[in-house]
Amino acid sequence: MRIDEPYIRLMNEEIDGVISEENARKLAAFVMSDPEARRYYEDLRETVRALGEAGEVEPPPELRERIFDAVYGQSGGQTVQPVAAEHSFWRSFVPAFAAGVAAGLIIFAAIRPLTDRSPKEPGYEATIGAVEGGGGAAERFDAYGVKGSVLPVFERGSITVTMSMASDTEASILFDLGDGVSFESIRSNEGADYQMEVDGKSLLLVHGGDAEFIIRFRSADTPALDLRIFAGGKTVAAMRLSTGG
């Protein structure tokens, strides 16, 4: 037996709570009078009850974070990334620098005894003598994927070391400061200045890529600096920087 469409509509309206009082009375009378309609109505209510009991599914707790990462990761990247790309080396070097120096000092403690004893494959060893006030020639080095130049300038009360480096690999630049010499500042070729304190008698920079930088030291009357550059556990260059040649 078919149930008339208007009554099916009323059953659904009743289930959804949008039926009028008059229609509710009309539906109740119809359902009471027709067992098949009553069964249909009860089945329909049971279906809706089953839908209601299916329950809500809990989203994973990390979903909100994923959404935020996707949304603000994208928009944030648009502003942050190009800035970082424009200043490829020095922007990344600055935070690495502080960490590198700290780590480097620890590494230094480990590598100095070895290199002091017997550098296995020294790339370049020299003593650079510079005329006070500048005018000397830069010394070049090229070994183990690291090449560049060093130009020290001695002035009264200070030593300025201009370095140019291009390295395929990470290189460590180690200055052993003589008596009366202390680190003052480092400046990149992009004009940014970095001040730092160095513990003890050494300064170590961890370098990668291409860059030019100027390091300044305060000096006593008879200054001298020992500079060593390492890459891959090998000595790329070792030189003494001093006045008078």
Binding site: N12, L51, A54, V57, P59, I67, F68
Partner: protein, 177 residues
Amino acid sequence: MATTDSSLVIETLNGDREAFGMLVERYERQIFNLAFRICGDYEDAMDVTQTVFVKAFERLRTFDPSRKFFSWLYRMGVNESLNQVKRQSRIVRVEFDPPSRSPGPEQQVIREQADGLVQSALRRLGEDYRVVIILRHFVDLSYSQIADVLAIPEKTVKSRLYSARQRMKELLTEAGL
């Protein structure tokens, strides 16, 4: 007084991340459940929910403030879920039992069984029927709200919903519920 969706949209457009966070908090669960019921897969529901909010954020300037935000968002949720179903239609996946709010072990078992039958029946429904059932019974929208989300007349919503319930009744009866 609760902040309206419209003001949160404006604040989001002005760069207020917290405002967008409130919109996500307000609708994340509904969009996820909508997606889960349409897709029938927990992982897909996660992907769809994320995509919906990302798209909503990207298109926020195109949102017509004369419309309701939730209608706009749910519509994206429906479309994205249906697209996901089409994308995944040829992929056989291992079913995943989603974590749900459970009152007790016995009720949990009964509910999981019922949930499984309902989900199977939903999967066998036609797309139009499935969506209207989900919007009414899982997202708890009214006829007019469903009409707004689907951009169809309310009269069509009613006839589609009543037919969908009839079909669900048959499928659940077949399944022994």
